[in-house]
């Protein structure tokens, strides 16, 4: 019987439903949100890329050696492993904002897979080119040293 009177009393109370997303819900101030990047502090050590569990961070390198940082907010799980593994405080930080939805034009899934492969290949190509140049330089230095030794013998 008690429940019956309580149910009657509920007729005169306000509903408890929060009409999200038209009304705001509770979000704490240290909510785990999208990761931000401060390029001036980065030392390009790639520790965040190897620590990220789903692979949401990747670095690419062009043929002059300049590196670039890419981040995908749809693949990220907001675990903050990258922030913990970064040796420079402040290069990666949490913005505490929820991630925005992506639309079809962003091509955020398949486009990211292609970008990831291209970035890794660009780093491998730069490393191979550097190795080839270093080998050439070492070979020509050896040739010059042999010539100098021959001249001094004569």
């Amino acid at each position: 019987m008690k429940t019956f009177f309580k149910a009657l009393g509920n007729l005169f109370k306000r509903p408890v439903t929060v009409k999200y997303p038209f009304e705001k819900t509770f979000i704490p101030e240290d909510y785990r949100g999208v990761i931000g990047f401060n390029e001036s502090l980065c030392i390009w050590c790639h520790r965040c890329e190897s620590a990220c569990p789903p692979g949401a961070i990747v670095f690419s390198q062009d043929m002059e050696g300049k590196q670039r940082y890419y981040y995908n907010r749809a693949v990220c799980i907001f675990c903050e492993e990258c922030i913990r593994s970064c040796p420079k405080e402040g290069a990666l930080y949490n913005t505490h904002q929820p991630a925005q939805c992506a639309v079809k034009e962003d091509n955020i899934n398949n486009g990211w897979n292609i970008l990831f492969e291209e970035a890794l290949q660009s780093r491998a190509a730069y490393a191979a080119e550097k190795k080839r140049l270093a080998a050439e330089k070492a070979a020509s230095a050896k040739l010059q040293a042999e010539k100098a030794a021959q001249v001094s013998k004569e």
Binding site: K2, T3, V16, Y31, R32, A51, P53, F78, E81
Partner: protein, 362 residues
């Protein structure tokens, strides 16, 4: 002997929260036989953890096995990985892990109780329990940063610290929840229409519970006093913060509801003791070692005993990871528990077993 009908309560059903399938053979509305099929959401997580992810990243993968007991999986994996790399966790990290495990237990038990009420036909109680649960979801969001996926325990310790404003928020909401819990215990114990549906439905005796190796509130309601928190003192200090075991006697749906409600009371006491006695120390132990050897860990998830076995081979990637979920142990008892019940109470009985199929069919 009357005519026998086979009725499936299938993978898609209006009252089921989880994707499982029972085929009942009924005679005059009484169930005489059951066949079960449970591997609908197999995702190959054990294989992925041993090929694609490094051992520090596996704690985030494993937290996504289940949405309700995510902290139990991450904590159990962190403990087994710490045994493989042979490090000790600082005391503050142990207390914070216990805090989040108990908050998670409260919200999971409230979900199960609301589902039992809904399946017994009492939809107003379902709404009321879910309203009380919302306060705890906001609390977990303030502590861990997210409502459902906590990512709180990492190999070596915990990921974030507890702020003083959050401590005040926890104490305030627990005070507010105390008389709401008394109201819920009163309704679940004394309401006459609820007892018609719940008493003597899905009953299992203590001897059957021993023979079938059941775990969790399912076993404790039948009179079997087993709880992993009673048995493992070395990894997390449960007895120090005031843990006591809760049992029932009759083993039916009514007893399971009361066991869960009293476990919520015990959890609230543990949370207060943890907040009063939180030690000061670091949060994480650093190490550069690789996992080697074999290790085994058990932990008490809201639904029962969770078991992890891991084997390392001195590289970044594990050799083998085996996860045993609590509902996995209960499947054969679930199948036998339907015997003799009416077909109309099958949804309420399934809800009271509190199955979590994502954990089972990882």
């Amino acid at each position: 002997m009357g005519k026998q009908y086979e009725i499936p309560v299938g993978a898609q059903h209006i009252s089921l929260l989880e994707p499982l399938h029972f085929k009942f053979t009924t005679e005059n509305e009484r169930i005489v036989d059951t066949a079960a099929n449970v591997f609908y959401v197999h995702r190959g997580i054990e294989k992925a953890c041993c090929t694609k992810f490094k051992f520090r990243q596996v704690s985030f993968v494993v937290g996504r096995v289940c949405g309700l007991c995510s902290i139990s999986h991450t904590t159990a994996y962190s403990q087994v990985a710490e045994k493989l790399v042979k490090i000790e966790v600082p005391p503050r990290a142990k207390y914070l892990r216990m805090l989040v495990i108990e908050l998670d237990r409260i919200h999971s038990h409230l979900l199960c109780l609301s589902h039992v009420a809904e399946n017994s036909g009492f939809e107003a109680l379902f709404m009321k329990t879910m309203q009380y649960r919302e306060a705890f979801m906001e609390l977990l969001e303030a502590v861990c940063g997210n409502r459902v996926q906590y990512d709180f325990a990492i190999v070596g310790g915990v990921a974030r610290d507890l702020k003083p404003t959050v401590v005040l928020m926890i104490r305030e909401r627990m005070d507010h929840f105390r008389h709401q819990l008394e109201e819920l215990i009163d309704i679940f114990r004394n309401n006459w229409t609820l007892s018609l549906k719940n008493k003597s439905a899905g009953a299992i005796s203590r001897d059957d519970a021993l023979r079938l190796n059941v775990v969790g509130p399912f076993a404790r309601a039948a009179g079997l006093a087993i709880d992993v928190r009673n048995e493992t003192e070395d990894l997390l200090p449960w007895k120090e913060v005031g843990f006591t075991i809760v049992t029932g006697t009759s083993g039916d749906v009514y007893a399971r509801n009361l066991v869960r409600l009293h476990e919520i009371e015990v959890s609230m006491r543990i949370i207060e003791n943890v907040l009063d006695g939180l030690p000061e120390s670091a949060l994480v132990t650093e190490t550069k070692a690789f996992p080697d050897g074999e290790a085994v860990v058990r932990i008490e998830a809201p639904r029962g005993e969770l078991f992890y076995y891991a084997k390392g081979n001195k590289t970044q990637v594990l050799e083998r990871l085996k996860i045993k979920a609590p509902t996995f142990s209960n499947i054969s008892a679930m199948v036998e528990g339907f015997q003799g019940s009416e077909y109309g109470s099958a949804p309420a009985i399934i809800a009271s077993y509190d199955p979590c199929l994502s954990c089972t069919a990882r």
